[in-house]
């Protein structure tokens, strides 16, 4: 009697575990791109590259007025909360700064004055060896294998800001407050963000997917070139061949993909 009751409880316990494990296993097995009768694919118009890169010809962008439409184009299509007045809470994907702040390791005492007074466009460098990706504990930020863009998955970001500490370029901004009241012009085609996530430039991955160039490239009227760094005949490689270019904080070894012609 005693034995059989124990046996019964054991079997009941194991069965309950087994019944509970099945849906769990199913849940873990799900998540692929296939399902009952459907599949997902890359769009037909999508632009592809091994590593997207950008060459900014700063000779063609001499004044702050010349940069304004470029920054604005980005702010507008990505629902960036530009109306935040507190500088510490500012959200920026692409912004303007002085030579001394942009190229901290290339500041001679006596610089070419033209270059020193020129405004520079800064954005995420989409490094080939991105420190932010290594720092992220949830893999919310990742380097996309297919084209080298350093992307954010806002759904996964827990707002720990390790990536902000890791990025040597200050390319990341944190939503210290709900950004929605500060978005001046809404673009319904692009999602907004919420309080507590980090955001940054995404090289317009959503535009590349439908065969369009990034918004800043389009708005720059030829001053910014965009293309595949590992395609010998791409526009960026042609420009790099013909011009002397510099990159930000190159000595850190992150291999930025944004080049500047000075």
């Amino acid at each position: 009697m005693k034995n059989s009751r124990r046996r019964f409880l054991q079997i009941a316990g194991v069965s309950a575990l087994g019944l509970g494990a099945k849906p769990m296993l199913n849940a873990f097995a799900a998540g692929g791109g296939e399902g009952p009768g459907y599949h997902v694919a890359t769009g037909e118009d999508a632009l592809t590259a091994k590593q997207w890169a950008m060459v900014i010809d700063t000779r063609k962008l001499q004044t702050a007025e010349a940069l304004e439409p470029i920054v604005e184009a980005c702010n507008k299509i990505h629902n960036i909360p530009t109306a935040i007045e507190n500088k510490n809470h500012e959200i920026k994907w692409i912004w303007e700064t002085h030579y001394h702040n942009a190229f901290t390791d290339k500041t001679n005492n006596f610089l070419n004055e033209k270059v020193a007074h020129r405004p520079f466009l800064l954005l995420c460098n989409h490094c080939e060896n991105p420190p932010c990706v290594q720092a992220c504990p949830t893999k919310a930020t990742f380097k996309r294998e297919s084209d080298g863009i350093v992307l954010m998955d806002f759904h996964r970001c827990i707002g720990c800001r390790f990536c902000m500490a890791a990025c040597p370029f200050g390319a990341r901004s944190f939503n210290f407050r709900d950004p929605h009241p500060f978005i001046e012009e809404n673009n319904k085609e692009f999602p907004t963000r919420m309080k507590g996530v980090v955001e940054k430039c995404n090289f317009c991955a959503e535009r590349l997917a439908v065969g369009k160039m990034p918004a800043c490239v389009e708005a720059s009227k030829g001053a910014i070139a965009f293309g595949d760094l590992y395609d010998e005949h791409s526009e960026v490689r042609e420009l790099l061949k013909e011009n002397y270019t510099i990159r930000r904080k190159q000595t850190l070894g992150t291999e930025p993909s944004v080049y500047y012609i000075v």
């Binding site: 799900a30 009952p36 009768g37 459907y38 997902v40 890359t42 297919s146 806002f154 907004t192």
Partner: protein, 128 residues
Amino acid sequence: MKDKNKILAGLAIFIVVITFPFWFNLGKAAPAPELELTEKAKAAKTCVMSKEFMTAEHMQLLDVWRHNVVRGGERMFVNPDGRQFNMSLSNTCLDCHSNKEKFCDRCHDYASVRPYCWDCHIDNPKGE
């Protein structure tokens, strides 16, 4: 078993209390919500998948969409009939189902689920 009566009485009270919500609300169940389709959704006749699939599994499908768009860069959905759709909550789903209050929210409220899609994917009218 000296306290048989006390135990049984206690058990009876316990069962009555624990089942209180069930018999108290018996027959008072809120009716299942009626979903309203927009003209556009009616005209399209079928969603990206069959109605049965969408009713039961739209959340899993949206998760597949989210994963493949955000992390894989794959944005094209091909359904069993071979029709192609752009995988986008705001631009594809809400294009037809533009009446979120009468379509999404009614069921979600009824089932007491609070998806946080809307924190980012459409305007928050209250601006909270």
